[in-house]
Symmetry: C2
Subunit: 319 residues, 2 copies
């Protein structure tokens, strides 16, 4: 995956960076949605993740209000906690602030972030602010899980059912000119699936959230679990609004559009029915879209069983 | 401190941002070198801080090697742990990587950071990498202290002795063209005073590290503790190399040059002698440079008792 310019894909670059460090003596180190560390009480562990949103790359000043940016910076991090089944606890916020961000704009950013923080019951405990050319917000968030109960990427077994929450593809479609508000809002204001993550702890064997696209993030579960998967792409949950607006591109958006911040879950067959009922009782939409398999293959098929080649997920460092 | 452009100083901006969030129910929230949170065992607390180094603002590609940048990004964060008397535990690393950083350069960055991490016994447990126009590195580091033993900014009492570690002004002088290597290395490779911080827990009533300059960071102790201070500027520890190179500017560099990453400590008079002996036994240079006072005044005087007006510390957002 190394390009002619001497750069390699994002995951390769991260792996190359991490290789220089000693392996951390913690329950889970680099490589999952969160690290898992000894927690603040005997029975619990701390899940920690860090993620940045950067002007021009993750948001544009034209499309995003300051409130949207503040919301999204926190939402993408909370989604990693959701994928671990962790309950949000605290976060720190490092801001790189360019000159165009005056006090009014900064207050907007804070309002967007604090509203979501209140809703998720997570406390801002520290921060830092430096000047910069571009607005960038890097958060580190921490949440708690009962000891040994964090949902990892590596637990999926052959035969486990493949579930996905909510609907897919709308955040990507929301970037297209003329997209209806219902799609744009999914791009601007992603909703981390925190409650579903907590509920899923009792059922799921593995979990990941969708930032880079369903197909690519599903690949993380397969890689970590050493399993393959068979996906029925015609079962992927898509909204009527997306189908109407995106037409024949809707399925591509659902497969690899990215920024859905939905959860992909592996659920052992014996718990699948109970999981569906528990999700329904709590008003969480979950859809079974396939099954994990012993063979390492990742097969995407349609209702007729014909193979589909999924487009690649988003990779910031792709050649 | 609001400027005509509608921007205010860095600390005002941080305060304005934080005001939008609910006050965190933790031992120490926003406003000290680290937040203090419930720790991983009953008898300990977790100190957490986040800090960024940004290309062109905190380092230049001309003066800094990639190893220097990696070292400094971690060092400035470890210095915050030192100021709390915390023992380093884990950190996460968010990288914003521009195109000019190829795989070789990225490896250099990792080596500089991992060497310091090994020396400080701190584990990398997670990270994130995004593309960007400028290289920026935001770390969140965590360390442990025995419960209730973190060194805060707010503990200084009138009569406490004012100490500073090491020597001041060299990091700032290291930015001047033609500076000798001994000064430049203080700019490129700051040494966080972690061991001194651990030792100081038994003696000091308050502590802060010097990032923005001695005078300004001393002000944080005064603000938080509600005390004044009298500083003998002729007692400020300066190296012979600094005096020779910087001449009459040496004292200004020591007072407000910044990036020294030394510790400023308040020590009750009854423990001052024991503190000095303990520091000497452990080969830590500490110098008594004044005394805290009941009056809120901050007086900088020379050996003859004449008042000195200290230059302002570095403020990224100063008008």
């Amino acid at each position: 995956m190394t390009s002619s310019r001497g750069r390699s894909g994002e995951f390769d670059r991260i792996a190359a960076f991490v290789r220089h460090f000693a392996r951390a003596q913690v329950p889970v180190g680099v490589g999952d949605d969160c690290a898992v560390l000894p927690g603040p009480s005997r029975g619990c562990e701390l899940c920690v993740t860090t993620d940045s949103v950067v002007e021009a790359l993750h948001f544009s000043r034209a499309a995003f209000s300051m409130e949207d940016i503040g919301h999204k910076a926190l939402a993408v991090n909370l989604s990693d906690l959701a994928a671990m089944g962790a309950r949000p606890s605290w976060f720190v916020c490092a801001l790189e602030v360019p000159d165009w961000v005056d006090d009014v704009k900064l207050a907007g950013l804070a309002r967007g972030m604090s509203k979501l923080a209140r809703g998720a019951d997570i406390a801002l405990v520290g921060g830092n602010m430096t000047r910069a050319e571009r607005l960038a917000i890097t958060l580190t968030v921490a949440g708690e899980v009962p000891r040994g109960k964090a949902l990892l990427r590596k637990g999926a077994r052959p035969g486990d059912r493949l579930y996905v929450s909510g609907t897919l593809g709308e955040a990507r479609a929301g970037l297209v000119a003329g997209a209806p508000a219902a799609l744009v809002v999914r791009q601007l204001r992603p909703s981390p699936r925190l409650e579903l993550g907590l509920l899923a702890r009792a059922f799921a064997s593995a979990c990941v959230d969708i930032s880079d696209g369903f197909a690519q993030d599903l690949g993380h579960i397969c890689d970590a679990s050493g399993v393959g998967v068979r996906v029925n792409v015609d079962a992927l949950p898509m909204s009527a609004t997306l189908r109407r607006f995106a037409g024949h591109r809707a399925r591509d958006f659902a497969l690899s559009g990215g920024e859905d911040y939905e959860l992909i879950l592996a659920v052992p067959p014996g718990r699948a029915h109970a999981f569906e009922r528990a999700a329904e009782r709590s008003n969480h939409r979950v859809t079974c879209v396939g099954e994990f398999a012993r063979s390492r293959q990742r097969r995407f098929v349609d209702d007729r069983g014909e193979a589909i080649q999924p487009p690649r997920g988003f990779d910031h460092f792709a050649p």
